[in-house]
C-alpha cells in the first residue's frame, strides 16, 4: 500500500438477508483515501452509500448475508480483526462516525460536555477531569461556546447539536471521520457555517473525511475527490475537478445536470425511470436501462474497472 494512503477499500461486498431475498446494498466497492483528504460519496437514496460507511466502520445490523472484501487502515487489515479488537483498536480511536440525523441522536439525559468526554474515558482510560478538558478543546474547535458544556441537548439549536455530535467524533483525535449527511436537516446559513468549520478542522487537525451525502451542491464545499454510487456499486471515482466539471460516467453526467444552479442559466433536467431493485439487479450495467448511451454490450455483462485514484465503471471507456 502506498505511503500516502490512509484507507484502502478492496472489493467490498455487503448483502442483507431479507424475507424477499438477498439485497445487494454494497457490491464490489473499491477506493482509496489519502491522509488529510476529504472524499465525498454521492448517490441517491437506496444506492448503498450509508451501507458502505457502515461496512467500513463494521456497524452492521443482524441480517447481514454476505460481508466480504478487504479494508486496510494504514497497514491494519480491519476486516480480519475480531469484533472486540476492532472496537478497541480502530473504532473511535482511528476512525469515528457522525451518524445521520446526529443532532437528534444525543442522549437527552446527559449534559453534552459529558457526552463528548465519554469516548476519552472509554477508549483511553483517562480520568474524568482530563477527558473534560479534552472535550473543552473540541468544543472550541467546532465552535460551540464552552459554557454550553453544562447544557442538555434540548437546550441547543439544531446547528449547535450537530456541532456537538462532530465534537464527539473528533475528541479522540481519529485519523478519519465519516460524516453521514451532516447538514441535511439544517438551514442554509447553518449549513454554510458547519462547512466552514469542517474546512477549518480539516486544515487544523490534518484529518481525513468521508462525507456521505445526496446534496451535490454542498458536497463541493469539502470534496477533494468524489465517489459516485449507483444501485450498490461505485460507478465513478475522480477528483472534484473532474466529477463536478466534466464527469465521465453517464449517470454522473445526468446527476450533475439535475442540480438546479443559482449562478448559471442552465435548466436542470431529470433522469427518466428508477434505479433497479437491489434484490435482483440486472446482469449487465445497472444503469443501462436509463442510459442514453446504451449499446448491446451494456446489457450482457457488467463493465469492468481498473481500481485506482480514478475509475469509471462504464463500457464507453473500455
Amino acid at each position: 500500500m502506498p505511503n500516502d494512503t490512509l484507507l484502502r477499500v478492496e472489493d467490498l461486498f455487503l448483502h442483507f438477508r431479507t424475507a424477499k431475498g438477498s439485497v445487494q446494498a454494497v457490491d464490489g466497492a473499491s477506493f482509496d483515501l489519502g491522509f488529510n483528504e476529504a472524499i465525498v460519496v454521492l448517490g441517491e437514496s437506496g444506492c448503498g452509500k450509508t451501507s458502505l460507511a457502515k461496512a467500513i466502520l463494521r456497524l452492521l445490523p443482524r441480517n447481514v448475508g454476505t460481508y466480504q472484501g478487504k479494508v486496510y487502515l494504514e497497514d491494519v487489515e480491519t476486516m480480519a480483526l475480531r469484533d472486540e479488537e476492532f472496537r478497541e483498536q480502530i473504532r473511535w480511536t482511528k476512525m469515528s462516525l457522525v451518524p445521520q440525523a446526529a443532532m437528534n441522536s444525543l442522549n437527552p439525559v446527559l449534559r453534552v460536555g459529558d457526552q463528548v468526554a465519554e469516548p476519552m474515558i472509554v477508549h483511553y482510560g483517562v480520568d474524568k477531569k482530563e477527558a473534560l478538558s479534552q472535550a473543552e478543546r473540541m468544543f472550541a474547535q467546532v465552535g460551540v461556546p464552552v459554557d454550553f458544556m453544562h447544557r442538555y441537548a434540548f437546550e441547543l439549536s439544531g446547528g449547535m447539536r450537530q456541532r456537538v455530535a462532530l465534537a464527539m467524533a473528533l475528541v479522540t483525535m481519529p485519523a478519519l471521520v465519516v460524516l453521514d449527511e451532516p447538514t441535511s436537516a439544517l438551514d442554509v446559513l447553518t449549513q454554510a457555517n458547519i462547512f466552514n468549520t469542517l474546512k477549518r478542522i480539516k486544515h487544523d487537525l490534518q484529518i481525513s473525511f468521508i462525507l456521505i451525502t445526496h446534496d451535490i451542491a454542498t458536497s463541493s464545499e469539502l470534496a477533494d475527490r468524489v465517489v459516485v454510487m449507483y444501485a450498490g456499486q461505485i460507478v465513478e471515482v475522480g477528483s472534484s475537478n473532474q466529477v463536478f466539471i466534466s464527469p465521465l460516467h453517464p449517470y454522473s453526467k445526468k446527476l450533475l445536470a439535475s442540480v438546479p444552479r443559482l449562478r448559471a442559466n442552465q435548466d436542470p433536467d431529470f433522469i427518466i425511470g428508477q434505479p433497479p431493485s437491489l434484490l435482483d439487479p440486472p446482469t449487465g450495467c445497472r444503469f443501462a436501462e436509463r442510459c442514453p448511451s446504451r449499446f448491446d454490450k451494456c446489457d450482457q455483462e457488467p463493465p469492468t474497472v481498473q481500481s485506482g485514484r480514478s475509475q469509471v465503471k462504464c463500457w464507453l471507456y473500455g
Binding site: G158, V188, L189, I216, A217, S220, L222, F270, Q274
Partner: protein
Amino acid sequence: MSVDSNVLNPQEAPAVQRAAGSQNGPLLSINDLHVWYELRKFGFGHAGYVKAVDGVAFDLEYGESVAVVGESGCGKSTLMKTILGLVPVTSGEVIFEGARLSGKNPRELKWYRSQVGYVQQDPYGALPPFMSVRHILSEPMVINGIKDRDKQRERIQRAMEEVKMTPVEDFLAKFPHMLSGGQQQRVVIARAMILDPRLIVADEPVSMLDASVRVEILRLLRGLQASHNLAVIYITHDLSTVRYFSERIFVMYAGNLVEKSPVDELLRDPRHPYTLALLEATPDPDPENLLTFKKVPPGEPPSLIKPPPGCRFHPRCPHMIKDLCDAEVPPDFVISPRHSVACWLFK
C-alpha cells in the same frame, strides 16, 4: 378543458362566494396579517406570545406562482397554515376571491378548502398507509359531495394522467408503500388537484426527494400551473430551485417579509442584507468552493417571543445604522414597481 369540469359541483358552492369570484381583483390578498400563538405558564396564566407571523402583506394574482423563502422558524409554515385555514388569524385579513377568510361558517370554509390544494413536504407521511391510491383520490370527492361513481372514476383518471402516472389502472390498486418517493409525491399532487382548486400551497414539495426526481416534480407542478391557470405558493428554503419555478419571490425573516421581488430581479439585484446572506450561502456544485470560506452573518435568528426592536435582522446585520435600525421598524421601500425591501438602507 370543459367549463363544467372546472367548477366543483356548482350546487355545492354557495352562490355568494361564486359571485364574488370575479377575475378582476387578485385571487388572494393578505393585509397586515398577524398570527400569534399564546404561551401559557403551567397550562394556565398568560406568558406572552410567539409572534410567528407579524405584519405580512401581499397580493397573489390568478395563475401566479410565488415562492416564500426563509429558514426554519421564520414563520413560513404558520403563514401557509393560515392560508389553508388551519390556524386562526390574530389580526389582519386573508381575502380569497373578494371574501374574508375569518368569519366564514363551516360550510363556506369547506368550500374554501376545496379551492385550495395542499401539497405536503413528506409524501409518505401525507398518504394514509392503509388506503389504496384509488381510495386516497376519491376521499376528497366523497367529502365534497361528488357521489356519482362514474364521475369519480373520470376525475381520478384525469388527475392521474395529469400527474403522468400512466397506465392509470396499474397504480390505482396500489398502496403508498408500493410506490417510489417521486410517485408518492405525484399521488399527493393528484389529490390536491382532484377538486380543481384555484390555489395550490406546496410546502417544500421536493425537499424529501432525490436530486434526479426533484426537477421532474417541479416541472410537473409548473405544467399544471400553466394548464389550469393555477396560483401556487411554493414554500422552500432552497433558493436554487426558485428560479425554475416561480415568477415572484418573498424572502421571510423572523415573521416578516423582508424583500418582495420578481425572481430574476432578485437574483440580479438583491437588496436586503439577509437576502444577500442567503444567496451567498447557497452553493452550486463547483470545485472552487473548496478554496473559500462562506460569509455567514453571526448569530442565529431571534426568538419570536421577544423579537429585537426595530429591524429584526439588525443584531446580525453588517450595515446596521445605530439609533435607526435598532429603534424603528423599517417600512417597505419601493425599488421598482414590483420590488420592495424592508430595510432602512433604501430610505
